[in-house]
Amino acid sequence: MSNKRVVSSTINGQQVEFLTEPQQSLLECLRDTLGLTGSKEGCNDGNCGACSVLINNRLVNACLMLGIEIDGKDVVTVEGLANVHELHPVQEAFVLEDGLQCGYCTPGFIVATKALLDRNANPTEDEIRFWLAGNLCRCTGYDKIVRSVRLASQLMNDAKEGPQ
């Protein structure tokens, strides 16, 4: 029996309406209904962070929310970070510091890093590692990710100061 509801929210700056059944997770809605496959399904129980997204500027796991819960909310996924001309500084930094290998966890790390740097422009290594504890990477050994976050912090601070 279909029991679809209309959900209306802002996703990556665009007003979006979509249909969901109550039991569908936000991750299912993003990937299967809206075609936003940047957010990945890893563990599907809140351990790996591959599905990290921002809801009203707060970091959450899309697998641990129902799609219906984002009605009226503002959602940012990894697709919302770059614009048509350039990568987001966090993405740029992960490329420059080789902060990824297979890349499956990367969208989650990028979104979680953005959430960190929006709150704390100059995190220490401890703060970076603590903040990213909810994101798992089985390739990099994390050091390159930490370096990427430090570079991202630098790039974002430079951008704030404007062109030299």
């Binding site: 109550p22 039991q23 959450v60 641990l64 504890a133 909810g134």
Partner: protein, 292 residues
């Protein structure tokens, strides 16, 4: 996940009416960080999920001297540890709120949900129990208060009757010269579940050399989080010191009924309760001295 219905009422009355009129299994949804995992794994069946995050009383955190701290049942950990009165007056609550899950979990998971889940390893439950929290509950028969040590009755089972819901948790204002702490042992510092945990609050006299009152809560070492009444009583009237903490820790070790499971053995848990109780009391006393 199996199909279910979903409602998001905006008042307590609406929710109570909805619960009394619905046939079948109802579950209340706050942060969902446990509930969705349970539903997905088939551990819980449900016909109607009621999302309570739209109800103002469940979403507020407030403090005044008379009422103490009132944490709405759906308030997430991050909102708790960003709250100024909690930062100033309830250190054990900060300890627990900042070690549950990781950042993404803390933005969703609520203390109310942690409590209603009634897991033996609920960090929030241990911290709140050490501070003498009262659970404010409403049902079709009216409102009642349940002391937190009576709220969890078995693993995964709480004291709510059918048709009742948790509205908020109320924690009395700290007494002068008092301090609290929550500490746990986990193999990994973040994103882990307690092998054992201890919460404690201590009140000292004005000279800071005598313990006037104490509460100790033990986590993940019995079917429910446990209030260690005898261990706490052994401290009363004593001057805070290592040997006194050691004695209380030994009594605490006798109170527990730990099991061996995937996270640790019963004997490891017993050992941990000794170590953690001593450390927890030491830090709670230090905090009491600092605030005085």
């Amino acid at each position: 996940m199996k199909t279910f219905d979903y409602e998001a009422p905006v008042t307590i009355d609406q929710t109570i009416t909805m619960m009394s009129k619905t046939h079948g299994q109802i579950l209340l949804l706050a942060g969902g960080t446990d509930l969705l995992v349970q539903l997905r794994s088939g551990n819980k069946d449900v016909d109607l999920v009621i999302d309570v995050k739209g109800i103002p009383e469940l979403n507020q955190i407030s403090y005044d001297e008379l009422s103490g701290l009132i944490i709405g049942a759906a308030v997430p950990c991050s909102q708790i540890y960003e709250s100024q009165p909690v930062l100033e007056k309830f250190p054990a609550i900060i300890d627990a709120a900042t070690i549950i899950g990781g950042k993404a979990i803390q933005n969703r998971a609520s203390f109310g949900g942690n409590l209603c889940n009634a897991s033996p390893s609920g960090d929030a439950i241990g911290a709140m129990m050490s501070l003498g929290a009262i659970c404010n509950v409403v049902g079709s028969e009216g409102a009642r208060n349940i002391p937190i040590e009576e709220f969890c009755i078995a693993p995964g089972k709480n004291a709510l009757e059918t048709g009742e819901m948790l509205i908020s948790i109320q924690i009395p204002s700290p007494r002068p010269n008092s301090g609290s702490h929550y500490i746990r042992f986990t193999p990994r510092a973040e994103m882990d579940i307690a092998v054992a945990g201890v919460g404690a609050s201590i009140e000292l006299d004005s000279n800071l050399d005598q313990i006037l009152s104490a509460r100790i809560a033990l986590v993940a070492v019995a079917p429910t989080p446990l209030l260690a009444t005898e261990a706490a009583e052994s401290l009363i009237g004593q001057e805070p010191s290592g040997p006194i903490f050691e004695k209380a820790a030994n009594i605490a070790k006798q109170t527990i009924r730990p099991i061996t499971d995937v996270r640790g053995s019963a004997s490891q848990r017993k050992h941990l309760i000794g170590v953690l109780t001593r450390r927890c009391l030491d830090i709670a006393v230090n905090r009491a001295v600092q605030v005085s």
